[in-house]
Symmetry: C2
Subunit: 519 residues, 2 copies
């Protein structure tokens, strides 16, 4: 069998550095699936559910800085992946979805699995195109890759009819994808520098709200330097894609989820500069509470958006602002607790378990909401969380981040409600023997919604239990679920047991699931 | 707290006979969630994942003949439900999705969970509307219900901003939803009657391809009568929503999934009449094989579409065609097998386990593909399968059908690959103590795709294993998965053990999962 369109597409992916696929294929992707098997240099991660594949591609992109491919089956397969595509889009993660379609000559028969794939993709993707002929495959695929890697990371969905995947490869030189990003506007940067200097000189209270490259590696150091030189506080939005924190790193403060707390935190500030982050707003509206958390009296100054070259902007500003010394977090980690687990003891156990270079993926929702504030001086770590708010991101992010960084221990914290959406990825973790330690914070309840019920005024705190919010009947057995996927599991109800279980998990080599019994 | 828009919506649902909700709510649905709890007459089924909720609403609608409501959280929550909405749409199941949105005054802040919900819904729903003000709530909701129950069953998605859900209820008489259906074209029916008579008199071979109401209860008897009177064979499409079969019922023949087999089956026919079914076509295109399975020489005669009043059309035709005697299936059920399970032994064990009035939900994919041909003379049963082809429908359909028919035993057959998409519904089955017996046909492989790989020419039958098709490393432990959800489970590897396990399951009262080890 000669080279097909599928081979050409894979050649192009590899030439562009895309060497990882998270997939769940079907009949319309059979030639693509066969071709993937012929390329040993591609890491092929089979996911049992598409939301696992797209969430993993998000986690992979955040840690590797480059897109993974996903391989999805028609409109419904894409739809199964949309919630985590939504989350990835909000995180500015690059992603290339390869979605199979019926052959060009079968489409109009409206077979059972037929649907409008482009319309399905469009609300959640910056770039969508259906290949229309074999001759255009290389150019269209290069355009898709360009879209994924441009503007700080985008979602590109390339829809591939089966007959183009199985058609002949048009022999030609491979086009080179290009990364597009808006040129920085130096006038805006200069103005920001002036305002920062003025604010410092006039004693006005300023904050920097950082995002994207301003939250890790060189960018974080630069942001810390700018903050120190201007006397600013360095904030980041509650939902941020990747934040590097820990001992010796610049002090960063997370803007809290509850709208009142966010408003209180930012109330004293006169000027807030956006450096790679959007304006922080309330996740939801509540009767009588504001949607904006930035105070009305404050100047909100957009300097560089997440879509632009944040790192270059930081270099430019830091170069002009100068300054020495960085405010490094020295808040001691809370002492190791003991006794029956509750949210505080769980968080403090985790805080003491962090090792140098740990990846932390946190979708612990209510249980671990305050964790980040307490681990600023723990050993250095990367902290990843759900950016788009669609629950069910945590475990898939962990899968993808662990594929990107196989040599780093990964600690994934999840609520039991949140883990229930996409725990199929546990199987993929076992298959790839990934060093992932999953802690399920098992409170047997959509605890966040009980708080939200009260905050929106739908229920009193002492109201009767609502059958749509309780996970108690029956209680899920997470150790059994883990074993079902071939993952070792154990249950802990004390801080001491949790500490030793996490230690065992981080030692690796394979995945371990720990059910932390909170109630 | 006074009556809110949420209460008004619930009053309208109940007045329209919609008394069941499958939901997975979030913050934007808190007032709806609170209101549901205040209506004890509404059956509230919490699902851990939205695809379970929409698939259950499909199964519920097929058996009850009326829509359930779903309660979904914003665009991503809806997206998680789309694959099974797609399946329900293809099955003509009525469904009313209630999707919360941000408040009207918060939407433009583009908070993390914001997305275009209407655009998400549109490709998969016949009716979509966002409530724009409290005053219009009752009328818009009535329009949504009308859409759901009209034209043979449609998908309606009503998007409810949180402030309309929590706003005051406009006191008024409740508008009455209306069921719209195209008036039957008597000329077409008369012409069909003439052609059937002519065909019989001229000895031409004719087939009826039946769908919707022609496949159960009175409609099935009428279709059987018409077939007998005209000497026609009574077919139904491979993917049909609900088929009543078994001892004493008219003989019906399923058009097979593999395109070659479907072509061969229909090849001898000169005239094929569509009675509530679309033209059967190949699920997928294969190189060198046709997309159509109806022979080129045959007349394909659309008589009544699935969207029209199929039952009335059948009454009209049967009245004119007359006839006595119906061809009732007398093919003996294969004898009870013994020994190690393989697909044939599994099917024959199931065939012998069927009890009068059993509901069978079948997503056994390759393993049970031939089951239906072998149980035409088993005790009377309803047979439900995946109509839209998006895998992950089986278990959710079983949940919904069992909620609709709590007094009937339900046997759900699923592949292991297919069960992996949406097995979260097992928890809901345990919660509602439903008499559901789930048989997981565990071959640890996407077996169907290996066949498809070969059929599309992407692989030789003896080719090396493809890592994107094998579920062997690790093998899932379905008994552990079941226990994780609070469902009893056991594993069988022989026909004898499977038979007694199914018996135990059908005895009820609660759910039982059986892993049928095939390899």
């Amino acid at each position: 069998m000669g080279k097909t369109g599928s081979h050409l597409l894979l050649d192009l992916l590899l030439a562009s550095g895309i060497d990882t696929v998270f997939g769940n294929p079907g009949t319309s992707e059979m030639h693509l699936t066969a071709a993937f098997a012929e390329y040993p240099e591609v890491e092929k991660v089979l996911c049992l559910f598409e939301g696992g594949a797209t969430g993993a591609a998000d986690g992979y992109a955040r840690m590797s800085g480059k897109p993974a491919a996903t391989l999805l089956h028609l409109g419904p397969g894409l739809a199964n992946g949309i919630a985590n595509i939504h989350n990835a889009k909000k995180a500015c993660s690059p992603m290339l979805n390869i979605v199979g379609d019926h052959t060009t000559f079968h489409k109009h028969y409206d077979a059972p699995l037929n649907s409008d794939i482009e319309a399905t993709a469009r609300p959640y993707c910056q770039w969508v195109k259906t290949l229309s002929c074999s001759d255009r495959l290389a150019e269209d695929a290069a355009e898709a890759i360009s879209a994924a890697i441009s503007h700080g990371g985008q979602i590109a969905s390339l829809i591939v009819p089966a007959d183009i995947a199985w058609g002949p490869s048009a022999a030609r030189t491979l086009p080179a994808p290009a990364c597009h990003r808006k040129k920085l506007d130096v006038a805006i940067l200069d103005a920001a520098v002036s305002r920062m200097r003025d604010a410092k000189n006039t004693g006005r209270k300023i904050g920097l709200i950082a995002g994207q490259e301003a939250l890790f590696d060189e960018g974080l150091e630069l942001a810390g330097q700018i903050a120190a030189a201007t006397g600013a506080t360095l904030f980041f939005p509650y939902a941020s894609g990747r934040v590097q924190r820990g001992r010796g790193l610049p002090r960063t403060i997370r803007i809290p989820f509850p709208v009142d707390a966010a408003v209180d935190l930012l109330a004293p500030y006169d000027q807030l500069f956006l450096l790679g982050a959007p304006e922080p707003v309330a996740f939801f509206a509540y009767p009588g509470k504001p949607s904006r958390v930035v105070p009305e009296h404050a100047d909100l100054i957009p300097v560089v958006s997440a879509r632009d070259d944040v790192l270059a902007a930081l270099r430019y500003i830091a170069d002009r602002i100068g300054g020495q010394g960085i405010d490094r977090d020295a808040t001691p980690v809370p002492p190791m607790p003991s006794g029956a687990l509750n949210p505080d003891r769980l968080m403090h156990t985790v805080a003491n378990a962090i090792r140098e270079n740990t990846l932390i993926v946190d979708e612990g929702v209510t249980t671990t909401r305050a964790l980040l504030d307490r681990i600023g001086n723990a050993p250095r770590h990367d902290y990843l969380t759900n950016v788009g708010g669609s629950i069910g991101a945590g475990l898939p992010l962990a899968l993808g981040a662990a594929i990107a960084c196989p040599d780093r221990p990964l600690l994934c914290l999840s609520g039991d409600g949140s883990a229930s959406y996409t725990h199929q990825v546990l199987w993929s973790m076992a298959r790839h023997r990934l060093n992932v330690t999953v802690v399920i914070c098992a409170n047997h309840s959509y605890e966040i919604l009980k708080g939200e019920m009260y905050r929106v005024g739908a229920m009193q705190p002492d109201g009767p239990a609502n059958p749509l919010l309780e996970l108690t009947d029956p209680r899920m057995d997470w150790v059994a679920i883990a074993r079902g996927y071939g993952v070792d599991g154990l249950r802990c109800s004390t801080a001491e047991d949790l500490a030793s279980a996490i230690d065992r998990g981080l030692d690796g080599p394979g995945p371990l699931l720990i059910e932390a019994a909170l109630a």
